[in-house]
Amino acid sequence: MTALAGTAGFAEALRDAGVAVPAGGAAVFAEALALVGVADPDAVFWAGTATLTAGPDDAEPYAHTFRAYFGGAEPAGGRAPAPAGPAAVLTVATDGSSAPEPGETDQDGPDRDRPDDGGPPALRWSRRETLRDADLGACTDAERAEAERLLAVHRIHTGNRRARRRVPVAPTARRGRPDLARSVRGALRADGEILRLARRAPTTRPRPLVLLVDVSGSMAPYARALLRFAHAAVAAPGAPPVEVFAFGTRVTRLTRELRRRDPDAALAAAGAALSDWGGGTRLGESLRTFNDRWGAPGRARGAAVVILSDGWDRGDPAEVDAEMARLARLAHRVVWVNPLKASPGYEPLAAGMAAALPHVDRFVSGHSVASIEALASVLSGPPARRGRRA
């Protein structure tokens, strides 16, 4: 086997393992091997890491594939990826009956504050719209039309923030700093006389939007619609920068998957990426993971964060409290969308919800398209003062 054929085969194996090796990666790897030699397995390993991977998440599949491909032996047990949890338990009731969804049964009477089946007439996200399998199913014509409509109409505005970049403004605008570059160019046209002082002033940028979508069992009836909404937010042209994360027992970043324009393809990719679909919720732990890995490093900073969840939590409410407080400090505003809120007499009794509420700027219902339209206006409106010490 020539070196290049070997590296090409390895690059292919890496792609199969889920590492996004770019075209030409194998050639770069071969080039690197020519420099470090192939005698030392360590050098080969690290040359491959440098040329074929592009993030810490690639490290484990890379090590695994490397051992399987070059080592010949079975990969060492310690480094093999953990089995992917309870694989998508998605056989949810398909007839729209109120049979309990998986993950819901061992919770503390979730039916107590859920809406009745005969909810408001605008209930497009009905309990009938349950998820049948991991690929989230194909869109019906109506859904597709609606997705298109959301895409076209619901350009989500998160409000603007002042940006650092300065752009030229009209000379009549009495703001900004002098723009000497343009002033000098103007002066050249006027025989060296500055007739007009050109100016530059800071521009504005839309705030980033972060969507955290609960995909646990109790949210299963809504999750598909919520992901469709998330897809609309991500794929809409001219939208603010949007990041989407799904959480249940773990946190999955779905932004890349949902960036495909075709809603079917996007939802299929999102479904394939989710392994905790329809399971329980560990709200506090999920929030912590999000804060640690993405929120505090930057994604939540100055962002509008929207959490779409019913607030059912099997973990420790104290952790929800602490992590929501942290998230509220990072974010510009936190909006909680709860599909249950629309039902008459709803009170946030779920422990997670109660713990989270003091740190939430706006608490809105999210059971229908109409309420999502309301969400759009909440996001673009002025921020409410949150009762952090409530």
Binding site: P56, R164, A296
Partner: protein
Amino acid sequence: MEVVDGPASPAEVLDAFAAEGYLADTGLATAVLLAMRMPRPLLLEGEPGVGKTAVAQVLSRWTGGELIRLQCYEGIDAGQALYEWDHARQLLHLRAAEAVGPGPGAGADALESSLYAERFLVRRPLLRAISAEAGTGPRPVLLIDELDRADDEFEAFLLELLSDWSVSIPELGTIRATVPPLTVITSNRTRDLHDALKRRCLYHWLDHPDPDRELAIIRLQVPAIDERLAAQVAAATARLRSMHLYKPPGVAEAIDWATALAVLGADRLDAGTVASTLGLVVKHHEDEERVRSVGLDVLVEP
């Protein structure tokens, strides 16, 4: 593909780095070797305080190439990164030309070309990095620090520069690097860099060192420290990292901590010295509470 002279093996890089006070591992050494010889930019990612920026500083000291640093921030643009005309001096020049009156070669064109001469050009880091002459010494080390802080637009601009190492200045013409600078890009992953940029680069994720290497780093960086104290600091730092803190301490914090303990004249770690210096390794109020609730004794167990 051109191959540049450089170290022959990762071991050579390890030794050279160690001589400059940076204890690398084989992974980093291999990536550095490839970056020096292939030549491609080296993209380093990792938690704050693991020594990403120091890699470029060490490279510069080792190779003798000038360290050219571009600190990225939101809103950075070509004017701050590449070049700018010195407009204030240009205006003075215009005034002077006016006062002196029409001289030889007068006319608007002559005036304009005199304005856009090299002497009015302000070279920013990227232009300095690519306009270094070959054969005049070691090639410069270009450090593009915290690229994730810059906006998308700047990243796209940088990608173009990294692809062909040339810049065209409308008034002066094209400037092409005779030898590309040794480039190190760092990112804290506050956002994803574009795939196209990553494709141009060699990638290395810098992790926290294992306790043995951390001990060696502390002893190298803080020579005044008692050996047993250094071992205790390394062990305590490793324990802090396993406590699920908001901000686990990096190598930089461990070195700061060891330095502080050495300054204070401590010869071993106990609950008292930890209590008075905890702020050097734990930088969040919540983290401090967590550590104190677990008990400071846990950190100083032998």
